[in-house]
Symmetry: C2
C-alpha cells in the first residue's frame, strides 16, 4: 500500500494543492488505520493476556481510534472530490464504504447495549467483511488509473493481502470459539 | 441484475458474435448461478425439514450445480476476452474470482474429508465472503462503462443486494448455531 501511494501515486498530504495527494490520504488511513485496527480490536477482545475487564477496555478503545481514523479517511475522500470538483457518493465503493462506517459507528455507540444482545460478534464480523469489500472495490476503481502493468499487479496484490487479513481475523476468532469456548 | 444486462447491456448470449453479449453471460451466471446456489446450499444443510442424511445430500448436490455453473461463468469471461482480443487475468476482480472458485472446488472435492476436520463451515463461509468480494469488484470494474447515472445507480444497488444476501446467509447460519446448537 505504501509503495503504491509513495512510489507510484506521488505521495500523501492532506493539505496539498494537488488533489491526488489529498486523495492518497484516503486509502492509507482506511487500510492502515480503519481496517487494521478493527481487526486488531476484534482479536484483542480474546487474545490480550490480561483480565477480561482490561480486554474489553482495550477492545473498545482500539475500536474508537479505528472509528476516528475511519471518519478522517472519509473526510479525505470528500476533500479530494472538493479539490478535484468531482461529485460525491457516486460509486458502489462509496456506498459500501459509507454503509460500513455508519454501521460500525452505530455498533460502537450501542456497544454497551449490543454486548448484551445475541449476535454482537457476528455483527462485528459482518461489518469487517463489509469494510474489506469496500476496500477491494476502492482498489479496483483506482486500478483503472494505473499507469503500468507493474502498478496494476501491485494494486491486485494489495487487495489480496487486505482480503487475507480479513479472513485471518474472522477465522482466528471462529476457530478460537470452536476450540476453547 | 437482469434489468441491467437485458435493458442496459444488450442481452445475454454465449454464442453471439457481439463480445458484450458473450460477456453478459458471466455476471448473470456468477450471480444467479454460483453465488445464489452456494448460499442456498449452505442454508439447506440445516434448514431442509428432512433427516440429516437428506440435508447433507441436497447440500452437496446444490454445491455441485453451483460449481459447474461457476466454471461455466469463468469460461464465459475467458471466451469474452478471446472475442474482444483482451488479455486474461489482469484485474483484481479476476484474481479474487479465480481464488474463490479454486478454493470452492478444493473444498468440494475434499468435502468428504473436510467435514471431519474442524472449521469446515468457517472455511465455507470464508469462501462465500470471497465470492461476494469478487462480485463487488466485478461490478465496480464494469460500472466504469456505465452509459448513464441511472445505470450507475442500478449497478450500485445490485452490488448492495448481493452483499446483503451474503451477510444474510452468514448471519442466519451463525445465529442458528448460537441459539440451537
Amino acid at each position: 500500500m505504501l509503495v503504491w501511494l509513495l512510489r507510484f501515486r506521488g505521495g500523501i498530504n492532506i493539505q496539498s494543492d494537488d488533489p491526488e495527494q489529498i486523495f492518497n490520504v484516503h486509502p492509507f488511513v482506511m487500510c492502515w488505520g480503519f481496517i487494521l485496527l478493527v481487526g486488531e480490536a476484534i482479536l484483542a477482545y480474546t487474545t490480550i493476556p490480561m483480565d477480561h475487564r482490561t480486554q474489553k477496555m482495550v477492545h473498545m478503545l482500539v475500536h474508537l481510534v479505528a472509528l476516528i481514523l475511519g471518519i478522517f479517511g472519509v473526510y479525505a475522500a470528500f476533500k479530494f472530490h472538493d479539490a478535484a470538483v468531482a461529485p460525491d457518493l457516486v460509486s458502489l465503493h462509496s456506498w459500501l464504504g459509507i454503509l460500513a462506517i455508519a454501521l460500525f459507528a452505530l455498533q460502537w455507540l450501542f456497544g454497551f447495549f449490543a454486548f448484551w444482545l445475541p449476535g454482537a460478534h457476528e455483527r462485528a464480523r459482518a461489518i469487517l467483511v463489509l469494510a474489506v469489500c469496500a476496500a477491494e472495490t476502492g482498489l479496483v476503481q483506482k486500478s483503472a488509473a494505473a499507469a503500468s502493468a507493474g502498478e496494476g499487479k501491485l494494486i491486485n496484490a494489495t487487495g489480496v493481502f487486505i482480503l487475507l487479513y480479513g479472513v485471518a481475523v474472522a477465522t482466528a476468532v471462529a476457530l478460537r470459539k470452536a476450540f476453547f469456548l
